[in-house]
């Protein structure tokens, strides 16, 4: 919130800048990082990236090499062979496709549902508004384990076991999303804009289409990305609702890899790499937006 406020009054800062400048170098904020700052951050970066890099290294070796000390530090020549084995053994092609569908549909649905509800909570007047909002926030506390037993019975009753909608539907219960969109719309969408559209004779649905959606687009993108990552990596519920040999997502398929008598670690690593690579690529391309989104969400949420 306060970030927005400071953004909107640049004139103040500009006027006082000449006076403040000599002092600013002492203030904690605008200090330049020194040698040690870079050193520590580089260590943190190495620690953050190392397990991922080593996944690739291990995936490019074979089982014998992984059972020797010292462990390998550089790539070997077995990467494509291992990827192929993982691909066929763990049904990775289908799993990746399933995960893509689950994550995309969950993200799109969550964004749509949350934006509608968030707008209603932010800008509309209706009865029990505060009670309902409190209710939504309270449900954020409830752990997913609490509903897992009846959910399982429910999808068994609907014969949805091993069907993707069993994993997608519970994702639409997105209290966080509703709260997130409400917080964003309260201050990003001027009430005057909604009023003006109404005065022009727009119905609520036209207001949503022509006013709310355009105004909410940045927050919708953030929520979409967060949900996508979460749905891609979700583990607890998919492992209950889907089976490894039926219709798995990537995370479910991974648990089935290398269960043989002597598990081939390099193949397991190849599978882990396959399951992670799509998201990592997205991070390379959209990293800045994702980071910005999480930080934006943090301040507003």
């Amino acid at each position: 919130m306060s970030a927005i406020v400071t953004d909107r009054v640049p004139t103040d800062e500009q006027q006082s800048r000449p006076v403040k400048k000599p002092r600013k170098s002492k203030a904690g904020k605008t200090l330049y990082g020194g040698k040690w700052t870079y050193l520590v951050l580089i260590v943190v970066t190495v620690l953050s990236l190392f397990p991922l890099v080593w996944t690739a290294i291990a995936a490019s070796r074979d089982n014998q090499r992984l059972a020797q000390t010292p462990p390998p530090f550089w790539f070997g020549g077995n990467l494509f062979k291992n990827l192929e084995i993982a691909w066929t053994d763990a049904n990775m092609g289908a799993a990746l496709w399933n995960t893509t569908i689950v994550a995309s549909v969950s993200a799109a649905g969550t964004v749509l549902i949350s934006t509608l509800a968030g707008f209603a909570f932010a800008k509309m007047r209706f009865r029990w508004k505060n009670f309902l909002l409190f209710f939504v926030i309270a449900t954020m506390m409830v752990p997913p384990q609490l509903s897992v037993v009846p959910l399982y019975m429910l999808i068994a009753e609907l014969s949805w076991t091993d069907q993707l909608q069993a994993v997608i539907m519970p994702f639409f219960v997105c209290a966080f999303g509703v709260f997130f969109m409400r917080q964003y719309l309260v201050q990003a969408l001027p009430s005057e804009l909604v009023e003006a559209a109404r005065v022009d004779g727009a119905s609520s649905w036209r207001v949503i289409w022509h006013v709310v959606f355009p105004a909410a687009r940045p927050a919708m993108a953030v929520l979409g990305m967060l949900t996508f990552v979460q749905a891609w990596n979700d583990f607890f519920w998919p492992i209950i609702a889907l089976t490894q040999n039926g219709n798995p997502t990537v995370q479910v398929a991974l648990t089935g890899l290398g269960r043989g008598y002597i598990p081939d670690q390099s193949v397991i690593m190849a599978g882990a790499l396959l399951g992670t690579l799509p998201l990592l690529l997205a991070f390379v391309v959209f990293g800045k937006q994702i980071v910005g989104g999480i930080m934006q969400g943090a301040v507003k949420g």
Binding site: M124, L146, N233
Partner: protein, 339 residues
């Protein structure tokens, strides 16, 4: 009626918002269509908020509230996974049984220790990293994306790698420790070592994410606070402790709550850290968490009723933790006010 009509139509004539200006007096037909329009407008105002909430609450009822309540109901019955519709009333037996169940207490203890082992270092390190990222840096975006990449790695992929890294005979970590003269550690089979290993996976995945949340909060602290502190002669450390930390208190509380919820539900890491992905949490149940125990009771031993009772116990524990969190926050605020 007339008022309604005027409030909807009057600004039209003023022309600022609408391009069209009606000059001729309205014909009877037009009047009729306007009353229709105003009625539609009222309906729209009255019902569309509920229509907008409907999708969320429909899904919430079906996949949120109903399961929640039904878990409570199921926890009072003997229910088998193989025949879930055949329920036998047990009263509170599932719960009383839980109180005498050493595996439940063991799982609870493990959940608490792993929770502390993972949450505390994670948040402290996240604060430090955020503080460093808050400096003006070359390639600051690179560092930010880099610390967030573990967040993009799934629980499954991360745990599978860490299992190898923590391997007893050929693992990278034991090899590194060997270089400084420490004998191979059997990470998986020891109690403390296995809990430390599981915690390290959690720490690795979430530290960067929390650091970015802290960073965002740090950047929204008004600069004047630092300036006046600097004017008063506060050193950088003093600024950190007396300006940054107090301003971050809501964010810290938020991350504490979120991490606690995450720690209570810990499931994937200990499941996959075990051989063959079995939910026992090691041969001596040394890293079996409540989440794993729930899964074991429900989906391995087929006792859905007991699993439901564990789920409710977890919920109660969460409420307790939330209450403690809230009390600490209130106490901090009070003591701050006095100082």
């Amino acid at each position: 009626m007339v008022n309604q009509y005027e409030t909807t139509a009057a600004p039209r004539g003023e022309g600022a918002a609408a391009p069209r200006v009606d000059k001729a007096p309205p014909s009877a037909k037009e009047l009729k269509s306007r009353t229709w329009r105003s009625r539609r407008y009222r309906w729209d105002m009255k019902f569309s908020p509920y229509a907008m909430l409907l999708p969320f609450f429909l899904f919430f009822l079906a996949f949120g509230l109903f399961p929640l309540l039904y878990t409570g109901w199921a926890s009072l019955h003997r229910v088998s996974l193989t025949d879930p519709n055949n329920m036998e009333w047990l009263g509170f037996k599932n719960f009383t049984r839980l109180l005498e169940d050493e595996f439940f207490w063991n799982a609870l203890k493990n959940t608490v220790t792993i929770g502390l082992l993972s949450t505390v270092p994670q948040l402290v390190m996240a604060l430090g990293i955020a503080h460093l990222l808050n400096y003006k840096l070359r390639g600051s975006w690179f560092f930010r994306v880099a610390v967030l990449t573990p967040y993009a790695t799934s629980v499954a992929a991360a745990t599978l790698v860490f299992v190898l890294l923590f391997g007893r005979d050929y693992g990278m970590i034991n090899w590194g420790l060997g270089l400084v003269g420490i004998d191979n550690i059997d990470w998986k089979n020891g109690t403390w070592t296995s809990q430390l290993a599981v915690s390290s996976i959690v720490i690795w995945r979430w530290t960067g994410y929390n650091a970015l949340i802290y960073l965002a909060a740090m950047q929204s602290i008004p600069n004047d606070l630092y300036e006046s502190a600097a004017l008063d002669g506060a050193t950088r450390w003093q600024q950190f402790f007396h300006v940054t930390l107090p301003s971050l208190r809501p964010t810290i509380l938020f991350t504490c709550v979120v991490s606690t919820i995450g720690a209570t539900q810990l499931f994937g890491e200990p499941l996959l850290f075990n051989d063959g992905a079995s939910p026992t949490g090691g041969p001596d149940h040394q890293f079996q968490t409540l989440g794993l125990y729930l899964y074991e009771q429900g989906w391995v031993n087929l006792h859905l009723g007991r699993a439901s009772a564990i789920a409710w116990a977890m919920f109660l524990i969460l409420l307790l933790v939330a209450a403690v969190n809230w009390l600490i926050a209130r106490w901090l605020r009070k003591s701050e006010g006095r100082a």
